[in-house]
């Protein structure tokens, strides 16, 4: 009967029952990918139950949206999932374009697709690096960041910012692609396939890595759908569903790529699915860069946007899952209500089901494998 447990930050909590102890993985825990606090009810080494306490990073984005014009709100969208800012932007811009009933010109749509796919690779790279670091492999994180740096350089050349890029505007693009954009992307994609093989050799057949991830945090297909889980986590449980194929947006319908899925839905499968997704994204980029159509980059919409009253729900396939925007407009320049459907927030709900019965060391791996970003969870 071990006495009180003090987490990193929290106050001591006294002991429960016979040998059940509450262990606090506090907001400052090194491996909770941000300010997430998990209250674990432990029975010896096993996790009997867990409760995620979130809200430390809540900035009230939806309330702010009601007091900003459509264009002014666009940069806020990048601050939610700060690891995949470009795809947030794409989601929001396309939702508003649907609200206005217009379409971005073909050239803009293709460039948007390329940048979103590059952002997906960057987001997966960051996930892989931190996930491997949590499980103890010290080297992959540096390899991943080296590749991610290349992508961020392309973003910086294109729109001046690396992380919260605000790369797209409602109706199309603000900037024409800088000359050499195609070469940079092609060069990156070409040597990226060798790099992915590097990670694969380091991790995929690594006995310890397999030992630490196989059979950990299992989520079967039925639970996944019931819990509303989307993205790589859902595909790893065996559901072959990707919004880019099911309901194509931007220019995804012009390229062929396949959707990786696995069956058992454990941490190893999610790892394999995400690695395969990176390869597919690379394929899309290569196809897209081949023939970027010429033409205008901005649809003809006025400076002041006054969408007709009504509502729209538009969602895209963000790196973490289905990112949806439900926008209600009352005909003024400011949206009446913007509701963001955050993939990380809903995927995190599945954490309790995955963590039950696992060991403390696995909790860290499970948090990593769901790939959450607290900016998006708390909004």
């Amino acid at each position: 009967m071990i006495k009180t447990i003090s987490g990193m930050d929290s106050v001591n909590t006294t002991v429960l029952g016979a040998d059940e102890i509450i262990l606090n993985m506090g907001p400052q825990h090194p491996s909770t990918h941000g300010v997430l606090r998990v209250k674990l009810k432990l029975d010896g080494e096993r996790v009997a139950g867990s409760e995620c306490i979130i809200g430390y990073l809540h900035r009230g984005v939806e309330k702010i949206a009601e007091h900003r014009s459509y264009q002014q709100f666009a940069p806020y969208v990048d601050r939610m999932d700060y690891v995949a800012a470009v795809s947030n932007g794409l989601g929001y811009c396309e939702a508003v374009e649907k609200l206005l009933g217009t379409e971005a010109p073909p050239r803009a749509r293709v460039v948007r697709t390329i940048l979103t796919e590059l952002q997906r690779i960057a987001s997966h790279l960051l996930w892989l690096g931190t996930h491997a670091l949590d499980i103890g492999a010290l080297t992959p994180v540096f390899y991943c960041f080296r590749e991610r740096e290349e992508i961020l350089k392309i973003f910086e050349k294109y729109c001046g910012a690396r992380l919260t890029t605000h790369a797209f505007r409602i109706g199309g693009l603000q900037y024409e692609t800088y000359d050499g954009f195609e070469e940079d992307t092609k060069r990156f994609c070409n040597d990226f396939s060798k790099k992915i093989d590097e990670y694969e050799t380091l991790l995929t057949e690594n006995r310890i890595w397999v030992g630490r991830t196989k059979g950990v945090g299992i989520l079967n297909a039925a639970d996944a759908i019931a819990l509303g889980v989307t993205g790589p986590v859902l595909r790893a449980s065996g559901v072959k569903w990707d919004l880019r194929k099911a309901q194509p947006y931007a220019a995804y319908d012009q390229y062929e790529f396949d959707i990786p899925t696995r069956e058992t839905g454990d941490t190893y499968d999610r790892y394999v699915v995400r690695m395969e997704e990176m390869r597919q994204s690379r394929r899309i980029c290569l196809q897209a860069v081949e023939n970027i159509p010429t033409g205008p980059i901005m649809a003809r919409i006025g400076k002041v946007l006054k969408p007709p009253p009504g509502e729209v729900y538009h969602s895209i396939e963000a790196p973490k899952g289905e990112l949806g925007y439900y926008i209600v407009s009352d005909g003024t320049t400011q949206p009446y209500r913007v509701r963001v459907r955050p993939p990380s927030f809903i995927n995190l709900q599945a954490f309790d089901k995955m963590a039950k019965g696992s060991l403390i060391a696995d909790v860290v791996a499970i948090i990593g494998t769901i790939d959450i970003v607290l900016g998006e969870v708390d909004r």
């Binding site: 103890g136 080297t139 540096f142 390899y143 080296r146 690594n206 310890i208 030992g211 630490r212 060391a361």
Partner: protein, 440 residues
């Protein structure tokens, strides 16, 4: 000089001098191993590692030492003061004590105990107290959990490492370090090659014993913060740190002596000489190597940005030149002296090679979970070590009964052990009964 010291304590003078040298050199050595680790880690991760303090970060260990000395030394309030102060001492003394039996060169050995190897094993097993008491004394749940886990890990992996050593002792026939190396030079083959499985098990066991690489679960950052060292800070923490690195060097020393032929020069048998001189090429190698390093350092001197770094780099180059001179001088000196100095060089070279292997493994493998760690230890390593010991025993019988050559007799048993290893490793799951049937 002999007559100066009274006769009664004559036999103690040389060991005391060696002991003082080792105790003085060790913190420095530990610091530079840390630097080596950070540099190698950086090199593997496509980055540079510490470059700021001194040329190429060479003065980094000194900076670390000074920092640790100046850092405030916090003792948790409800901690058990006596134990809190006593625990790191236990760790460090045990680590230093184990050096007494280590034979660095034929001449350079503090005490040639005829139970040398056993002595080192016993002393390093006492190191556990430092960890367990430290965990208990800092009175925080995290360190207690970490301490218990690392103690359990040490105990279980010591058995595996011990069994691996036994298989070598069967061949060497004696416990004293000198005799083991002598046996290796007599048989003309390093035990690492004649008992490959023993070497493999010992490598894994020693990594686990010093809490490093894939087995560094007790201080796994992600779960239990820093294990038993959580509450320690400043100089006290550096004692633990020193003990860990000293243990690493001891374990490397044991492995070199038993498996890599101690101070024997690699390729002891072929003797072609440098034309026109009587010096064998391989003997001249150490001198040439250090000379090469010296020249490289000299070439770096102009490139150093800061003036002070130029001086330091020049000093380093000078040091290398002196070592090269000593090594070259030893060539012409009488064989005993040459053997002593070159022996020490080869021994240190092998120890650093072994440590490099430690670092390499550390940066490629993720961390084991605690139950996997235990399963690997108890269900894979120890049975394999047992089978290995039986195998070597059978080999010796073969050699004595039918006078097969030392190598020939070992081949069948090594293959048998290989078979068992595959069997055990096939399913990481519980060990099947088949493993006892072996050892024909």
């Amino acid at each position: 000089m002999g007559h100066l010291i009274p006769q009664s304590i004559m036999p103690f003078v040389l060991p005391v001098v060696y002991a003082v040298v080792i105790v003085a050199v060790l913190p420095l050595l530990a610091g530079y191993i840390v630097l080596m680790e950070r540099k190698v880690m950086a090199d593997m991760q496509a980055r540079l590692g510490p470059m700021r303090v001194g040329p190429h970060g060479l003065l980094q260990p000194i900076a670390d030492a000074v920092k640790l000395l100046l850092k405030e030394d916090i003792i948790p309030d409800k901690a058990d003061r006596l134990m809190f102060w006593f625990a790191p001492l236990v760790s460090v003394t045990m680590a230093l004590l184990a050096y007494s039996a280590l034979a660095i060169g034929p001449a350079f050995q503090i005490a040639d105990l005829n139970i040398g190897l056993l002595f080192i094993l016993a002393i390093s097993s006492l190191g556990i107290y430092g960890i367990v008491l430290g965990g208990w004394a800092s009175n925080s749940h995290y360190s207690l959990l970490g301490a218990l886990r690392s103690a359990a890990q040490l105990v279980s992996y010591e058995t595996a490492a011990g069994l691996a050593l036994i298989s070598v002792l069967l061949l060497a026939g004696s416990l004293s370090m000198k005799d083991i190396v002598q046996a290796q030079s007599d048989q003309g083959v390093w035990f690492g090659f004649s008992v490959p499985f023993g070497f493999f098990i010992y490598l894994v066991g020693s990594i686990a014993e010093t809490n490093r690489a894939p087995f560094d679960l007790p201080e796994a950052e992600s779960e239990l913060v820093a294990g038993y060292m959580t509450e320690y800070s400043g100089f006290r923490w550096s004692l633990y740190f020193l003990a860990e690195y000293a243990n690493m060097v001891i374990v490397a020393g044991i492995a070199t002596t038993l498996f890599l032929g101690g101070w024997l020069r690699p390729g002891a048998r072929y003797h072609e000489q440098i034309p026109g001189t009587s010096i064998e090429f391989l003997d001249a190698l150490p001198a040439l190597l250090t000379l090469g390093v010296a020249l490289y350092c000299l070439s770096l001197v102009p490139k150093q940005p800061v003036k002070i770094q130029k001086i330091v780099m020049a000093l380093v180059a000078g040091l290398c030149v002196i070592i090269a001179g000593v090594l070259a001088g030893a060539l012409v000196a009488p064989p005993a002296v040459m053997q002593g100095i070159h022996g020490a060089f080869w021994f240190m070279a092998k120890v650093f090679a072994y440590i490099y292997a430690f670092l390499w493994i550390r940066f490629t493998f993720p961390r084991y979970r605690f139950d996997q760690l235990m399963r690997l230890g108890w269900r894979f390593l120890i049975p394999l070590a047992l089978v290995n010991v039986i195998g070597v025993g059978v080999a010796i019988v073969l050699r004595q009964q039918w006078a097969w050559g030392p190598i020939v007799s070992l081949i069948p048993t090594t293959l048998a052990t290989l078979g068992v290893a595959m069997l055990l490793a096939k399913d990481d799951a519980p060990v099947s009964e088949a493993q006892t049937a072996d050892g024909e």
